[in-house]
């Protein structure tokens, strides 16, 4: 959520520079783009999954994530993948778009011909809220009091 707005702005800015398609457009007009060369820019998320001499990458833009099938030899050095701890490197890919890839069991994917890191990712900084820590302490203390009151009342009833 906190990274969504800068990511959206970054994607829109990069889209303007490269004139590429967004994921929502690719999914929404998949028949139109099927078998055509497309350009796509997105944040690398999760991790790259090695399959022989190829890898699967998943690139995320504001409309969703799309799988990219790439030759390992063509893969640029990716320092960060998007996760809770980091904003992933933003990659530009040019390749053939498949609405239902015959090689990959009908997946909607892009077979990369060229890949580039256009914006490096970065580690995120965690913010600790003092107010939340105080709230947690207050709630836990109150819960402990409520627990002892409950047990005391229960024991009192059992004696009666």
């Amino acid at each position: 959520m906190r990274t969504a707005v800068p990511l959206l702005l970054l994607t829109l800015a990069t889209a303007g520079l490269f004139g590429q398609e967004g994921s929502a457009e690719l999914i929404g007009k998949s028949k139109e783009f099927d078998g055509r060369s497309v350009e796509f820019v997105g944040e690398a998320i999760g991790e790259s999954m090695r399959r022989g001499d190829h890898v699967w990458l998943n690139l995320l833009d504001s409309g969703g994530a799309i799988g990219v099938w790439a030759n390992r030899a063509d893969l640029p050095a990716i320092r960060y993948f998007g996760s809770s701890a980091a904003r992933g490197d933003t990659l530009w890919v040019r390749g053939i778009f498949h609405r239902s890839c015959p090689e990959h069991g009908g997946d909607l994917d892009i077979h990369a011909a060229a890949l580039e890191v256009v914006t490096p990712g970065e580690l995120k900084r965690e913010t600790l809220h003092a107010g939340r820590m105080a709230l947690a302490a207050g709630l836990l203390l109150s819960a402990a009091v409520a627990f002892f009151l409950w047990r005391a009342r229960q024991k009192g009833r059992e004696r009666v």
Partner: protein, 503 residues
């Protein structure tokens, strides 16, 4: 009409609801420890707040209800109904504090979706969610599949006395043993054994497709929890498509189909009664409807030439269909592809599959194969009755953990529940249509929420109107509890309000 609730009734309901909330609070210890292990300090504090809120609310309610004896049927039903709503309220606290939701209503929607094993989500930026929050999401769906009352009965042993009405209130009427406590513990034992096996299987499958060992383990655990509970949550926004692997899809398929079977069937098989799998009315009914709907969906997809070959047809067509039929909701394609590419015939087959659902007394939702089988047998009986002389007497038999004679009460009960499902399906379809969504899309999403499925054509989003979110929450709740507890809760509240207060 229900009698006027007395103070004792309210105290009893408070007592058991409090214990369920304490159970929900104690469950937060798992994501709390996960946050500690992964040094997610902000999430750690969020879970401390959630834990404190749940324990405070639970202990306060338990204090209010001290010493009020055993629950009757109505107490069990109302407690089950109210406990699920109260659990939704407190379990949503860490969601809200995470900053991944636009409103508290969205947080409660996701908790209800998780607990009822539906799997629809309104979360923002799922791909950047913390490890601990993902653990909480999947833990909720795993626990919800078994039942939060079953959990409270199994682990808060003081709740066991007279606990059967509570157990039934959660739509689990199958007693594996005479003791409900023993039954609840057996259900958890079955689930935890499968949890270990399933996590290891998906861990190995994950590493085999190129995922690093730690991430493969986490994904294996989360995806297993969602598969077994027929939940449909996944740690990545692409759901199962993220993995791009036939092998991984097959392992998930194996576990969500297993999870959709009746706990009594699991227990029978574990006790050596393996033939039960092939004779049980539920497995026979499920196999029959799955075959028929697969033929219809594949015919629809092939007619439109949606997929290039048999493998694609299996991975996209059959996987989505069986995911819908078992009410899991795992997806290997994008939501909008269903609307834009699948065509009306395949979508209608999907809607039917989602409504029919899995087995009774399992983690699955929908009408349930047992009820479908009973109604089918009743139809057969009526047809035979028409064809035979009026003086002929005959009994219709079916096999369900032994040979049984079909009774009128069983048929009436099955038909009533199916009718209620159709009513909430119609309600959600109507609300969707009134909010401006196309009829087929509204019907698809309505079938998904009513059957606790989780497949979507893209209607479910944070941007949808609040009235739709509230309707979907109601449908998920009512569908999961199979109406008895919901009707009792509504009746109880109406009786209390109508008589203006409590004696």
């Amino acid at each position: 009409m229900l009698a006027k609730p007395r103070l004792r009734d309210l105290k009893l309901i408070c007592s058991y609801t409090g214990k369920v909330l304490i159970g929900v609070g104690l469950l937060m210890a798992l994501p709390l420890l996960t946050a500690l292990a992964f040094r997610e300090w902000a999430a750690f504090v969020d879970f401390l707040v959630g834990l404190g809120a749940a324990l405070l609310a639970g202990c306060a309610l338990a204090w209010l209800g001290v010493g009020e004896g055993r629950p009757s049927w109505i107490h069990g039903m109302v407690t089950a109904g109210i406990s699920w709503l109260a659990a939704m309220g407190v379990a949503a606290v860490p969601y809200w504090l995470s900053g991944h939701y636009l409103s508290y209503l969205d947080c409660m929607f996701d908790v209800m979706s998780g607990l009822t094993t539906t799997g629809l989500t309104l979360i923002q930026d799922l791909d950047h969610v913390s490890v601990s929050l993902n653990t909480w999401r999947h833990l909720l769906t795993f626990v919800g599949g078994q039942g939060i009352i079953v959990l409270a009965l199994a682990f808060l042993s003081s709740a066991a006395g007279g606990g059967y009405p509570l157990y039934v209130g959660e739509a689990k009427d199958e007693k594996l043993f005479p003791s409900v406590l023993h039954t609840a513990k057996t259900i958890w034992k079955i689930s935890l054994v499968y949890l270990a096996v399933g996590t290891v299987a998906l861990w190995v499958a994950g590493m085999a497709i190129g995922i690093s060992p730690l991430r493969a383990l986490l994904h294996g655990l989360w995806v297993y929890m969602a598969a077994w509970s027929t939940g449909g949550f996944a740690p990545m926004s692409q759901n199962i498509l993220y993995y791009h692997s036939l092998g991984y899809e097959c392992v998930t398929l194996l576990f969500f189909v297993t999870g959709s079977f009746n706990f009594a069937l699991h227990h029978a098989v574990w006790s050596g009664e393996r033939r039960e799998v092939f004779r049980n009315i539920e497995t026979v009914s499920f196999a029959g409807s799955l075959t028929a709907l697969t033929v219809i969906a594949c015919w629809g997809l092939m007619k439109l030439g949606v997929y290039p070959g048999a493998v694609a047809l299996f991975r996209k067509g059959f996987y989505q269909l069986i995911s819908g039929h078992t009410t899991t909701g795992f997806m290997t394609l994008y939501a909008r592809q269903l609307v834009l590419e699948w065509g009306d015939v395949a979508l209608l087959a999907m809607i039917l599959a989602m409504l029919l659902g899995g087995s009774a007394c399992s983690t699955a939702g929908g009408f349930k194969a047992l009820r479908v089988g009973i109604i089918w047998k009743a139809l057969q009986q009526e047809t035979r009755r028409l064809l035979k002389p009026s003086s002929a007497v005959f009994a219709q038999r079916f096999h369900y953990l032994g040979s049984r004679i079909l009774g009128e009460a069983q048929v009436r009960s099955a038909a009533l529940v199916v009718l209620m499902y159709i009513a909430i399906f119609a309600l959600a379809t109507l609300v969707g249509s009134l909010c401006g969504y196309p009829l087929l899309e509204s019907a698809f999403e309505a079938a998904s929420v009513s059957g606790n499925v989780g497949l979507s054509v893209g209607v479910t989003a944070a941007s949808m109107p609040a009235v739709m979110k509230a309707t979907y929450i109601f449908n998920m709740w009512a569908g999961r509890l199979e109406f008895m507890a919901v009707l009792a809760t509504i009746g109880f509240i109406a009786a209390a309000v109508r008589r203006r207060g409590v004696q």
